[in-house]
Assembly symmetry: C2
Homo-oligomer: 546 residues x 2
């Protein structure tokens, strides 16, 4: 009899993670996941990245997925996994494919009485919670089905670009799987007739229009369709605006690109141009308040295409894949036209580095704009996108990340950890408010541990300034931190306090040269400093808060 | 026509919180809860306490509930509420009555399309998640029912000593309720005949036993039955041991008290005495691994009484309230006996404050034991309970808090915020590992903001030492922090590094005198320092991790 070497359940999971491009897994060890951690650490293709808190691991895995196409967070049962519920809900809402791997009690531990810690009411609670924000989930409780189940949920993450949940009981990690498993990945295809008909309708509509405009959404990036979008816009002469969540889906340098559309709360010229279009192409765009302006969007919606729905003049076309439709459109016989006089993002203005004037939100973003390089990836926290980050001039496609839709504060610092590990060629510039930094900013510890070098701009306006225009009360204040002293606690990195433009210029210059570690810059813009866009919004949009 | 002044939904909620003893509400503002925050801040009976992250607010509210009998955390929709899922699961598991109040979209915002931020798939997601770890929940979407609903869920929290969930749509905060509401609190009673029969059986069993022993659980505290327990033990001469979660339910000074029972993993003399009992009274005790020893408990369970079940010699008695049974037992005609030679907790040993020897886990706890005062409340984090905190000699009943059952790390520092606000007469001594401090320790910011003065002992053993006995791998290491420099970041408090016993004695002396703010003491006990009890456990209990 010959011994056949059989792969263990944990090993198969690791192999599939690596196969689909996962090089880093984020998390914190705990007793229900220790055996799998041990296996992961011995694997040469994947590096374990531990964070201060599971929340940080969740945000890091989300950013990693946005940059590299798939992310993973690996945590212990209950006290670990439930800490990432919010980050996974955000990944679900913003279409970021994160695999949650949670340890769990073994089969014999689930038998009989509830002699276990981290318990709630029954062993199904955790899976039921994650079923609310994932597109597939599984409990790997049988070697006979484990490989198929691992394949099924990973395929779902890749197909829907949304999180999936894998629960790995600790007594299953080292159980061998049956030999002879073949991975079967369902190949989805579009119905050729329907696709041709939809493209025909789309071409006719665009050709008959006086001013077609593309409003590009984040799914263009998630499905890797930037090239096709660019071909469509450039070759056919159709100008492009982007939603906030999709900021940088087209680089600001492209001459067919107009900037961010946010309805009446955003840039007026972009708003006017988009809303006067007689043929709007909403491509990969979610309809939400934050990315289409606060309840003010008035859109014709001539062509609407996402992974969930494709319709032309409100007529739905089923059985077409989003990516096939976009690819088809980019190659369709649309009559080329010349792009006329369209709004354009403002490239950085020349700035003076020696002014003693106090930094304002405007001058801060002018300096940052001038500072951005081709190897910069901007990671903006929830509030920061509303404070001017939208106007940053991004040189490369998808080098701007932000939780612009779900808007959970605390994303940016741990997001920099994930983003820089996913693509070490790019150096993160992190924009984070003082309030959001207090939530997760100490994940700079993990950034220091793994030798990364983001530049962290703390937009220090003494509280939750996002809320002040609506209701300016003391509960929007936060306790003042000396952010520049965080490096003293972490034993690495450098910190600056910035009050004037001259301070800012010097700090940015030093940060630029400090490539060996992170830099944190505490930019004191004062309590009443408000972002222009936010002020516009507060003035124009009637708040619903009593 | 006379105008009748009608109470608004938000006002009624605040009134009922105050009525049931809530003086502080923890949370972070966000747009869906701003209107209620405004109302709360204007209320003179309740103080809003904002934290760095919602997780900190959740832990603080839990500790507040454990000390004062009811706690509340108030957060915004989704990105706020989902961050407290883990803390609420812990409160559920450990029977801590926390009210979660979450903002939510208004009725008109829920209509039509999903033009809202913080979205997931539908508006029921968040309530369904919290339904998994709460005993009652409601959405206050109608003024006609809001008052009854508020009463119903608060009563459930008080009855079951577990969390409840209240979702307050932002357009409902200021809607007036109908006049003439009467709060109807269901008065539960025991069936007198069944109660008498159960007590009769219990008395007979105890009287016929040679060595009755009480194993007291945390429900004795949650239901406020310490006096009755003390009367039963003292007047009838029945010795008491406590579970870990119930540590300090009886003060260590009581002469009928033996200490903590943890099965074979705990103190040997207590284990032997408890397990040789021929009549064990499990009163308010959950059966779990961490509080009854790791799968080794061999208990006769002669009398078992919790709020969920009462049984005598395995015969269940329904329709009896836990509190009535304990009160009845304390007054029942049990024949008094004399307590003989029982194990006793070790009072602090005299220590020398001038030794230059390096601090060990043993000498640390010797010094802390000698340092404890009558006005100290010890708050131990998840890992710390396993590192010697169990052996601390607690002078007053219920002046030791720890998440000993669910065991979520990161509880202790925000827990000190909640505990000291709940009872300012007591000064917290916080015991927290370096790993757990990195999760939530920066909530010292909130402690500084509100002028509290806990003494925080960071048991710095360079990582997650709880896991090392099972599997000592690099992923159990954490990035080294200079914890003593945290005060420099927060702009208040004082910090120490402690390496020798002499350092420790000096630091504790200064901390004792520094009553104006917090003190953080970084006690470097070295990477290999293991708690005695944990070593015992690792030796005796076969690990299930591969």
């Amino acid at each position: 009899m010959t011994m056949v070497s059989q792969i263990k359940i944990g090993e198969y999971l690791i192999r599939q993670l690596a196969k689909y491009g996962i090089k880093h897994v984020f998390g914190i060890p705990g007793d229900f996941i220790l055996g799998f951690y041990d296996m992961l650490e011995r694997c040469e293709h994947i590096r374990l990245i531990t964070t201060c808190d599971e929340q940080g691991a969740g945000f890091a895995a989300d950013a990693y997925a946005r940059v590299s196409g798939l992310g993973a967070v690996c945590v212990t049962y209950r006290a670990g996994a439930l800490k990432v519920a919010n980050t996974i809900a955000q990944a679900y809402a913003e279409k970021s494919p994160v695999i949650i791997i949670s340890g769990a009690p073994g089969a014999d531990e689930k038998q009989g009485s509830n002699l276990l810690h981290h318990p709630v009411s029954d062993f199904g609670v955790q899976k039921r919670v994650f079923d609310e924000f994932t597109v597939a989930s599984t409990v790997l409780d049988s070697p006979a089905t484990a490989q198929d189940e691992i394949d099924r949920v990973i395929h779902a993450a890749l197909k829907f670009k949304r999180p999936v949940y894998i629960e790995l009981p600790r007594d299953m990690v080292s159980v061998p799987c049956p030999a002879g498993h073949k991975e079967k990945r369902e190949q989805e295809t579009s119905d050729p007739g329907t696709l041709a008909e939809a493209l025909h309708e789309a071409v006719a509509l665009i050709d008959s229009a006086a001013q077609p405009v593309i409003l590009a959404g984040v799914e263009i990036h998630r499905f890797g369709l930037q090239k096709e979008l660019t071909a469509l816009a450039r070759n056919k002469g159709i100008p492009v605006a982007a939603t906030i969540l999709a900021k940088s889906v087209v680089a600001d340098t492209r001459d067919f690109y107009m900037g961010i559309y946010e309805g009446a709360t955003g840039l007026e010229d972009v708003c006017r141009y988009v809303e006067s279009s007689d043929c709007l192409l909403l491509l990969g765009t979610f309809r939400t308040d934050l990315n289409l302006g606060m309840f003010t969007a008035r859109l014709t919606q001539s062509i609407y295409a996402t992974s969930e729905k494709i319709s032309i003049k409100h007529i739905p076309f089923d059985n077409i894949l989003f990516q096939d439709f976009i690819k088809g459109l980019s190659r369709a016989p649309i009559s080329p036209r010349t792009i006329g006089n369209i709004p354009r993002p403002h490239p950085p203005r020349p700035i003076s580095n020696s002014r003693k004037s106090k930094v304002t939100i405007d001058s801060l973003f002018q300096h940052l704009n001038a500072f951005l390089k081709k190897d910069t990836i901007v990671i903006a926290d929830a509030g920061a996108t509303l404070s001017g980050a939208n106007d940053l001039y991004i040189h490369r496609s998808m080098k701007f990340l932000s939780p612009a839709y779900y808007a959970s504060p605390g994303f940016a610092v741990p997001g920099a950890l994930g983003a820089q590990l996913a693509d070490p060629e790019f150096r993160p510039l992190v924009l984070v408010g003082d309030g959001a930094f207090q939530m997760t900013g100490m994940e700079l510890s993990s950034i220091a541990r793994y030798g990364l070098n983001p530049i962290v701009i703390v937009i220090n306006n003494q509280g939750y300034s996002t809320e002040r225009p609506t209701l300016d009360r003391p509960f929007n204040d936060v306790h003042p931190w000396q952010f520049s002293k965080v490096p003293a606690v972490l034993g690495s990195g450098i910190g600056f306090i910035v009050e004037t433009e001259e301070d800012l210029a010097k700090a940015l210059l030093t940060a630029d040269q400090n490539t060996h570690g992170y830099t944190v810059i505490d930019v004191k813009i004062g309590r009443d400093a408000q972002a222009l866009s936010r002020l516009r919004q507060a003035e124009k949009v009637q708040t619903k808060t009593p």
